[in-house]
Amino acid sequence: MILVLMIGILLLGGIACWLVAQRSAMAARYVALIAVIMAFVIPLGWFIQNKPAITGANKWLVQYQANWIPAFGISFHLAMDGLSFLLIQLTFLLGVLAVLCSWNEIRERSGFYFFNLLWTLAGIAGVFVAMDLFLFYFFWEVMLVPMYFLIAIWGDFNRRYAAYKFFIFTQTGGLLMLLAILALYFIHGQQTGNYTFDYFALLNTTLGGATGRWIMLGFLIAFVIKLPMVPLHNWLPDAHSEAPTAGSLILAGLLLKTGAYGILRFVLPLFPQASAAIAWWAMLLGVVGIVYGALLAFAQTDLKRLIAYTSVSHMGFVLLGAFAFNEIALQGVVMQLLTHGVSTGALFVMAGMLKERLHTRDINQMGGLWTAMPQMGGLALVFVMASLGLPLLGNFIAEFLILMGSFPVNPVLTVIASVGLVLAALYSLRIAQKVFMGQLQVVSERPADLSAREWIIMACLTAAIICLGLYPQPVFDLVKGAFFVTGYQLPVAGVSN
């Protein structure tokens, strides 16, 4: 029930924002903030109360099921396990920050803005807890539309193009997934006579060679577009760089995670054989993504675009790890989801702050900002280092585990992926160098350092990334208890030597 409550609060909060904003924009901001904080606190509070029960091998923390379209075996089935819980917490944490960083940035039509923001969050949260494939697809699309508006209305100069591209890419994948879901539904129905979209029932479907592979590809394409995987990544740089700050934060921090979540939750358990069959290719594409994203990131002069390409690179690790099929790599993948959300999100927030002050995203027009903004410079450095995978920060743990886990499976690709770490250093340092180092450019006014609100945002993110770096064990425990103990059959690695 708390899950319904959680999503419901966001949906209602969104509508409330819209209505309230007719009178006062400030009120809309507070409503949005309160709604997200409530959504954040509800599962957290529940978790703290029930902690002992969870750390056991109890797989599903909470379930809720209601009939929806019984004629097609569709039900409104929500459930949460450790993985979902973590991602939901990430969602709402970043959600709170997204509201905060839109505080002053969005001056017009803020009611509608927060409506979209909250609905996107609701959609994302829904994706993480939906246990009915139809419902999953439903939420998958729900998060898309408000996001489209966020980009198309409050975006930058080239926003319409970016919004189209974003929408069309993801929708293509989504529809293919829909086809695959249907195929799965019918195959399962024919096998068992029970036509249902329920995840747990579908887990028992046995799928033969070619059919299974096609259906799996349907799912996989949707997820890797979202992830994104090279060469299906082209929506990402445009969408990320044109979106407003909060939009970029949510895109990078959360939307990409839904793709990875999909792979972990659906592709691997539903299609173990088919996944094993294409594992090598998936890993290869992951590695290509790591290297290619890094190369492109290095070439960019637009700060947000640069960061966007780093996401491509980082998400390559996810693909690599997910298809290594062992616990170390998969735990690394989960970790990567969290840390990438935090670190890249922080970089986008930073880019947004810079844009607010300098009115440009071109790093050639920046430089020497450390002098003017020592606090931001220091914090920026933390996240630059996070993005290049410095130990002590969460990203290192994630990438280390992914590489560690995939090394025995495929040493060559892992070694190439490790080269990505050098490239990561290249582009990350380039950010630091171009933006914060060098001579302070002559600008009309000296940009101000962080305000208190911005401090809160950055402090939260910094604390999160350091905590994840130094004491990640709770995350692993949660995921392990929920994910690897029961019922999760890992595909047998197809490639090993």
């Binding site: 082209n234 002590l392 892992t414 180092m437």
Partner: protein, 627 residues
């Protein structure tokens, strides 16, 4: 005693946190107190710990402290836990003790700098990271420290970030070491795959049983670890970053790029000696790399004009000696050289810092001169350092350590005559450039006015270090002289003893040759650079190209530029707007074109529409006819 371990890195860490969070609001004296004080406390704790270690050696030869379990996934279980054994003790002593001196020096040296707090924050963080590196009981924690020192090195090289070239130097340092780090990381993966653990003790215990000597895996692992070490320790071919790293403030060069961080590679190889012993091939490679590096860097040092760059090349060269020693299996000699080198090289850098400060940031040695009279204390301490560097027999610490290496490069089981000759040539060159440096800077005509006398606080560390530069060698005497082996006894609690060749000639003979070569080097330097001669050499046209070649560090930078940097930049430049995007744009364009074609059919002509209907029925009927 175990409980004390955590405090050693903790104090610098606390210093870092305070300074980085509140540093901007604190007055300078407070900053100085915190910055230097925390390191001093760490040094005191270290000494207490060291005394206790020597008096009552702990069970198992090491102190242990488990702080918390870092992460535990599947078979992989990594703790944050510290360990101090004899080898580590040497390192933490140097780190905290020399570190503390340099911090004290810095409080005065950096007094006029605007970013006082940032400097000390970074330095404290560095000390903390370096301590973690050497105290880590597993390789992942070691890697954390390893990267941490890289970060601090980056921050401190680019400390004066307004100057673009400094930033470039910082980037270069970070990137090149990063290459090594990545190799190290891959090595860790391989190790874990083979042994299922990353705990150092565990690895060293399991390795002999698991690997057969010289098998492919072990060779690969050790080579990867070695590359990691090469990156950090600026060995060929990854040495090019260190000279540029001199862009940082002098105390940084002293602490990071001379005394401590650059020897991390040495530490790593020494720490993992159990693996290296299983792979003779790698040992040989290490030795050869060390030998080559010491020659190449030494030659480069001959041609430099920037005082700090000379010292930087000499650092590379000296670490080359350490690698050589490691390669031939002279473990304790390598560590001993590290020990003495830390003192005298730190001293040289600090003294150079004083000189540079006094001469309005003048780096060129040919613009100096005649400082002997005007800065006598600096001169004396510098002399002590230079003597140690050129290994002046018996009166310098450098002699004892370097002599041991020269001896082992021949006499150890892995050693041979070529290595020995190269090391000998290196000794000659070292003496030569040391002399050159001394003569050009301290003798001759004054060329730049001295701006002010150095503060007392800067002089004291110089004196302390000079004292150690002279005396640190006395704890370990060659076998044939006094056979005092305090140091190697200590270190050999961890490291194996050097395996010697059978039927060796007398050690005296070698010592004599070494001393002779050093003398020759000094003499040659004297003839070349005393008085006006130096300028003549510096300007002689016949040697211009050679000098150019050496000056640029054997053109390694240009080579890398050509092989890696330019293609990379080219690649990124041409693909800035992502070729794959073209594909999708093409699809979009295609659809639009199709749309235009189709819309021709919507030309409003009723007759065309009728033709459309006709076409439809024709299609249907024809289909029927065909089927």
């Amino acid at each position: 005693m175990n409980q004390l371990l955590a405090y050693i890195p903790a104090f610098p860490l606390i210093g870092f946190l305070i300074l980085s969070l509140f540093g901007r609001k604190l007055p300078k004296p407070v900053i100085a107190t915190i910055g230097a004080g925390t390191v001093c406390i760490a040094a005191i704790i270290t000494i207490v710990l060291g005394v206790s270690f020597l008096q009552t050696p702990p069970a198992g030869g090491a102190f242990h402290q488990l702080l918390w379990s870092w992460f535990k996934v599947g078979k992989l279980s990594i703790d944050i836990s510290l360990q101090v054994d004899a080898l580590t003790l040497v390192f933490i002593f140097i780190i905290t003790f020399v570190g503390a001196l340099i911090h004290i020096y810095s409080t005065f040296f950096m007094w006029h700098d605007g970013d006082y707090a940032r400097f000390f924050a970074s330095m404290n963080l560095f000390v903390c990271a370096m301590l973690l590196l050497v105290m880590a009981d597993n390789l992942v924690l070691l890697y954390l420290g390893w990267e941490g020192v890289g970060l601090c090195s980056y921050l401190l090289i680019g400390f004066w970030y307004e100057v673009p070239s400094n930033c470039r130097a910082a980037n270069k340092a970070f990137l090149i070491t990063r290459i090594g780090d990545t190799a190290l990381l891959i090595g860790l993966f391989l190790l874990f795959r083979e042994l299922g653990t990353l705990n150092i003790q565990g690895i060293l215990q399991q390795a002999p049983a698991h690997f057969t000597t010289g098998s492919a895996n072990i060779v690969l692992i050790t080579i990867l670890l070695m590359i990691g070490g090469m990156g950090k320790s600026a060995q060929m071919p990854l040495q090019t970053w260190l000279p540029d790293a001199m862009a940082g403030p002098s105390p940084v060069s002293a602490l990071i790029h001379a005394a401590t961080m650059v020897t991390a590679g040495v530490y790593l190889i020494a720490r993992m000696h159990g693996l290296f012993q299983l792979s003779p091939v790698t040992m040989t490679i290490v030795a050869i790399i060390g030998a080559c590096t010491l020659l190449v860097a030494g030659c480069s040092a001959l041609a430099q004009t920037d005082i700090k760059r000379i010292l930087a090349y000499s650092t590379i060269s000296q670490i080359g000696y350490m690698f050589l020693a490691l390669g031939v299996g002279a473990w304790s000699a390598a560590i001993f050289h590290f020990f003495t080198h830390a003192f005298f090289k730190a001293l040289l850098f600090l003294a150079a810092g004083v000189v540079i400060e006094a001469l309005h940031h003048e780096h060129n040695i040919f613009m100096m001169g005649g400082l002997r009279k005007r800065m006598p204390i600096v001169f004396v301490t510098f002399l002590a350092g230079a003597a140690a560097l050129s290994a002046l027999p018996l009166v310098s610490a450098g002699f004892f350590s370097k002599d041991a290496i020269l001896w082992y490069s021949w006499s150890a089981a892995n050693g041979n005559v070529f290595l020995w000759l190269m090391a000998l040539a290196g000794a000659f060159i070292t003496a030569l450039y040391s002399t050159r440096l001394m003569l050009v800077v301290f003798w001759g005509e004054p060329k730049t006015p001295v701006h002010e006398a150095p503060a007392q606080g800067m002089i004291i560390p110089l004196i302390v270090l000079a004292f150690f530069s002279v005396t640190a060698g006395f704890i370990e005497w060659p076998h044939n002289m006094m056979h005092l082996t305090l140091f190697s006894d200590h270190v050999q609690k961890v490291l194996p003893e050097t395996i010697m060749k059978a039927y060796l000639p007398s050690e005296w003979f070698f010592q004599a040759i070494a001393a002779l070569v050093t003398g020759a080097g000094i003499y040659l330097g004297y003839t070349m650079y005393y008085g006006k001669a130096g300028v003549r050499w510096q300007q002689s046209p016949g040697l211009a190209s050679t000098r150019e070649f050496l000056f640029s560090g054997w053109k390694f930078d240009q080579l890398y530029n050509f092989i890696f940097v330019k293609p990379f930049l080219f690649l990124t430049r041409i693909n800035k707007s992502d070729v794959i995007d073209r594909m999708y744009n093409g699809i979009a364009q295609g659809s639009l074109r199709l749309s235009n074609w189709f819309s021709v059919s919507q030309n409003g002509s009723l007759r065309l529409y009728i033709v459309g209907v006709l076409a439809g029925i024709l299609f249907i009927i024809t289909l029927q006819l065909l089927l």
